[in-house]
């Protein structure tokens, strides 16, 4: 009896440690999201480590790229650092794409990566990358017409183009409004599935009015 009790205790101990091991992914991801707020590069490295340990999950690679891409917008004038960083982000995006093909979230991220290049040097990259960016959004929209990030980022890019040519931005502002609604309804079963973009949508809408 005593032995049985002991055995159960031991099994419980083993299972809990095991459970703990399973949630390491969650712990790691949460830690990386926390780090992101203070040090995006370090966060990217943690996502990179998680990606290496989770070869069938596209999310860690996706976030490893996203941290670098968004951070890239703050380094637009430091060309050599930016180029190295975007090159690294491209590697992560390629890894993510290899795991999950035809993924609209990754396409949006790829379009954003190109957008950083355009923002850093419009004369060099605007010409060659603007077509690619639009093509990515069009493709993503075909796959996921109701994904709020697809709708929002496509509209964001189109507003930029329309402003440049002095054209009406209203039709695209309507898309942003739609994106904002989609943010409240869009749900994913996958833990840590991308959920960013709502603040950006609100920001754009302010400018629309």
């Amino acid at each position: 009896m005593n032995y049985l009790k002991l055995f159960i205790t031991c099994v419980v101990v083993l299972i809990t440690t095991n459970l703990q091991a399973q949630s390491n992914y969650e712990k790691g991801m949460e830690k990386a999201f926390d780090l992101w707020e203070t040090n995006p590069i370090e966060a990217s490295q943690l996502f990179e480590r998680i990606a290496a340990a989770e070869p069938d999950n596209w999310l860690p690679s996706y976030y490893a790229a996203e941290t670098l891409i968004l951070d890239g917008f703050t380094k637009l004038s430091d060309k050599s650092v930016l180029e190295a960083q975007l090159k690294q982000a491209q590697i992560f995006l390629n890894d993510a794409t290899a795991i999950s093909k035809d993924n609209p979230e990754i396409m949006v991220m790829q379009a954003l990566l190109h957008t950083v290049y355009v923002a850093s040097d419009g004369a060099t990259y605007g010409i060659t990358l603007s077509g690619k960016i639009m093509a990515l959004y069009t493709q993503a929209e075909k796959l996921a017409p109701n994904n709020p990030r697809v709708v929002l980022n496509k509209a964001d890019w189109e507003i930029g183009g329309a402003r440049y040519f002095g054209q009406d931005t209203q039709p695209f502002c309507k898309d942003v409004e739609r994106a904002l609604e989609l943010f409240t309804t869009f749900k994913s079963e996958i833990k840590f599935y991308p959920s960013w973009g709502k603040e950006r949508a609100e920001e754009i809408l302010k400018d629309c009015k």
Binding site: N2, V13, S80, E83, A84, T124, G131
Partner: protein
């Protein structure tokens, strides 16, 4: 007692749970600490980032043998497998990644146009936006150093070489007839649409062993791998119309492009110096099909072109002028496959076929010629590691040329030749470090026509002198069989050859490029003959020779002045040859001592316009004045031309394009034609050879229609 032991036992298992601290330091090959490297145990989340001293330390629950991985941008990833307990006070040295952006590049002799390549001096779109180029890729390259201004010809003359010494390749496969046929005094253009290419490499010497049968230069054009989107392009121009369409599927795409050119309306408005009976008229169609496989890419390119014209040209010996009529048909097909065999083997195979048929009526003569040419190439590349790559392959060129000659005295004379060449090549790329790279190759060619075997070594070396500058050296030996105009009369000859020596310096600053290159070339075995023109009556031999030496300078800057992008090219050229029917060694008439070219592009934000200017200056070229003693004894006055263009973006999809060549209307002189016989005073009369038209105007409207009307003409600007 037993109980507690058992508990202890289970707990030990559960917590293998004993924790280990991994400590170490990451440095580079010069023992400097590396900050920001990612250090972790592979397959776990345990790891950290190195600090400013290169130090790292983290705690892990893992035990037993683990792999420690250290990765950082621009260094090779480092792996070490050991028991966790031994990961203590590690000293890890990372090697430079030679694939990184700041690695030395072998650049002697080479200009490349690409998006991200740092040795790119031109962007693909420069071809379309250079004022003097009029959308011709050859025209845009003529603003680079190393080219000479032979305004009446239009082909590429590189570093004191004849135009046919430059060979053009599409996707690595030879183009046998790259230029549109024209009349004397009217410059030709490249046959192919610049919109189909996204990479251009122009090498003015010292190129890879993969390429042969070119004494002076090679031009590599790569077709677009994957078009961005489905679209239809419409263009209406003062000289014709173009229509293009791109269709995309899952893993393949097709682009077709058709154009019709007629100079009749233009010539009716702005008559030129020729007396046209039927002005130039031509139609062409191009198609590119691409298919992506899991580990490879197939590209099929084909182009068909028809052109014709008829005119009477002024001539000093014929008061009524010379009647000239031409009909040309040209078909080109090119197919290639490039793929990975395994992660370190790459394979490339390609084939091209050219069919060219011309029918010329010249005064009383009827000349019909036809050319059938093939080129097949197979190449393998092995990556031993990132520092050592080996390239090797074989290729076969076959040309079958026939000419029929007919006039009132001679009845149907038919002649021709077969010029078949087999070649094998091998080349190694070695990176000793991020700062020193070597490319060494060997090419072996066998000419069936001459039963001659030639061996050409090629060597180039690059050394990085600072973070932004590098020095390169190149040496190479090049062979080329004589051209069709010689071979059709005489085949008992040998290949002509040349040796290149090149020293190059390049400085790349953010948005600025400076290049300086000095070279020496030595030609041997050039073809000589003993009559005024090459014909059956001539005696031919390989006793000709030549030297060329020069300096090329290039500066491009798009940073100093906002919205202004400009480049300046200067070439100094000194050359003398003794070939063809030259009685002595002399400077040939396609050589200018000084060539200067300035190209500017200014973007006016408020007008949504790009305004471009290009100016070119070339010192005079030689000609023979029979009224004085000597051969090629005089020089023409220098050549000057300034061109302007204006591209106005009406909306994302519509662009209006205007350009004027030689806006100042400068009367340039290409040379002089002297009478065959002297007049009664013993004087040879002469006629000035001027361009057919001093100025050219161009107006075009281009419209892109894409699926949702969202794609844009920015692509074409």
């Amino acid at each position: 007692m037993k109980q507690s032991l058992l508990i202890l036992f289970f707990f030990t298992i559960a917590s293998s749970i004993s924790q280990t601290t991994v400590i170490g330091r990451v440095i580079d090959t010069k023992n400097n600490p590396i900050e920001g490297a990612n250090v972790y145990l592979e397959g776990t989340y345990d790891g950290s980032m190195t600090d400013e001293n290169g130090m790292f330390s983290f705690i892990t629950d893992e035990s037993g043998t683990q792999i420690l991985k250290v990765s950082f941008i621009s260094y090779e990833t480092f792996l070490i497998s050991k028991d966790v307990s031994e990961f203590n006070n590690l000293q890890i040295k990372l090697r430079d990644d030679v694939n990184a952006l700041d690695t030395v590049v072998i650049s002697a002799g080479t200009f490349s146009a690409g998006d991200n390549s740092k040795i790119s001096v031109l962007k693909p779109l420069d071809v379309v936006t250079t004022a003097s180029a009029l959308g011709d890729f050859v025209g845009a390259l003529q603003t680079l150093p190393g080219t000479t201004t032979v305004a009446e010809d239009g082909r590429l003359f590189v570093r004191g070489g004849e135009a046919e010494e430059t060979q053009i390749f599409i996707d690595g496969i030879r183009v046998f007839t790259p230029y549109v046929p024209t009349t004397r005094n009217t410059p030709t253009r490249g046959r192919y649409s610049p919109f189909l290419f996204d990479g251009i490499t122009f090498s003015t010497g010292g190129y890879s062993a993969e390429f042969g049968q070119a004494l002076s230069s090679i031009l590599l054009l790569n077709t677009i791998e994957e078009p961005d989107q489905e679209k239809t392009d419409i263009g209406i121009m003062s000289i014709g119309a173009v229509l293009g369409h791109t269709e995309k599927w899952d893993s393949s795409s097709l682009s077709v492009n058709g154009s019709f050119i007629s100079l009749a309306p233009y010539i009716a408005l702005f008559p030129d110096r020729n007396d046209w009976i039927e002005p130039f008229q031509g139609g062409s169609g191009e198609a590119v099909f691409r298919k992506k496989f899991d580990s490879g890419m197939l590209k099929l390119y084909s182009a068909f072109e028809m052109s014709s014209f008829e005119l009477i040209q002024e001539d000093i010996d014929f008061s009524e002028g010379i009647h000239y009529k031409l009909n040309n048909k040209n078909l080109y097909f090119n197919g290639s496959y490039k793929g990975m065999l395994s992660h370190d083997w790459t394979v490339f195979g390609g084939l091209s076929y050219t069919y060219n048929k011309s029918k010329v009526e010249l005064i009383e003569d009827d000349i019909k010629d036809s050319e059938n040419s093939y080129h097949a190439k197979f190449k393998l590349k092995h990556h031993f590691n990132s520092r050592f790559k080996l390239n090797f392959g074989a290729e076969y060129f076959a040309t079958n040329f026939n000419e029929d000659y007919n006039n009132s005295f001679i009845n149907d004379l038919s002649y021709g030749f077969k010029n078949n060449i087999t070649a094998a090549f091998s080349e190694a790329d070695i990176f000793f470090s991020k700062n020193i790279a070597l490319k060494a190759g060997l090419r072996l060619e066998y000419s069936e026509l001459f039963d001659e075997l030639t061996l050409s070594p090629r060597l180039s070396l690059a050394y990085k002198t600072s973070a932004k500058s590098q020095v390169s050296l190149a040496y190479g030996n090049f062979y080329q069989n004589p051209n069709n105009n010689i071979l059709k009369f005489e085949q008992n000859l040998n290949a002509q050859n040349t040796t290149h020596y090149i020293l190059n310096y390049q400085l790349n600053n953010d948005g600025q490029i400076f290049r300086a290159e000095a070279y020496y070339k030595n030609y041997n075995d050039l073809i000589k003959y003993d009559t005024e023109y090459a014909s059956f009556a001539s005696n031919y031999n390989n006793s000709g020779s030549a030297y060329v030496t020069g300096i090329d300078l290039f500066w491009r800057d798009n940073k100093s002045i906002k919205n202004l992008d400009y480049w300046v090219s200067y070439s100094f050229l000194d050359s003398e040859r003794e070939y063809q029917n030259y009685p002595i060694q002399a400077t040939p008439n396609f050589v200018n001592t000084h060539n200067l070219s300035v190209v500017t592009k200014y973007w006016i934000e408020n007008w949504k316009s790009q305004v471009g200017m290009s100016y070119s200056f070339a010192s005079g070229r030689t000609y023979t004045n029979p009224n004085e003693t000597g051969f090629l004894n005089q020089k023409t006055k220098s050549y000057n031309s300034m061109s302007l263009n204006w591209a106005y973006l009406i909306s994302q999809q519509k662009i209006l394009y205007l350009s004027v060549n030689n806006v100042l209307g400068i009367k340039n002189i290409n040379g002089y034609q002297y009478a065959d016989v002297p007049d009664s005073n013993g004087n040879y009369a002469r006629r000035t050879l001027r361009p057919a038209a001093d100025q050219l105007f161009f107006v075009g409207f281009f419209w892109t229609i894409s699926e949702k009307g969202t794609d844009n003409q920015l692509d074409n600007l």
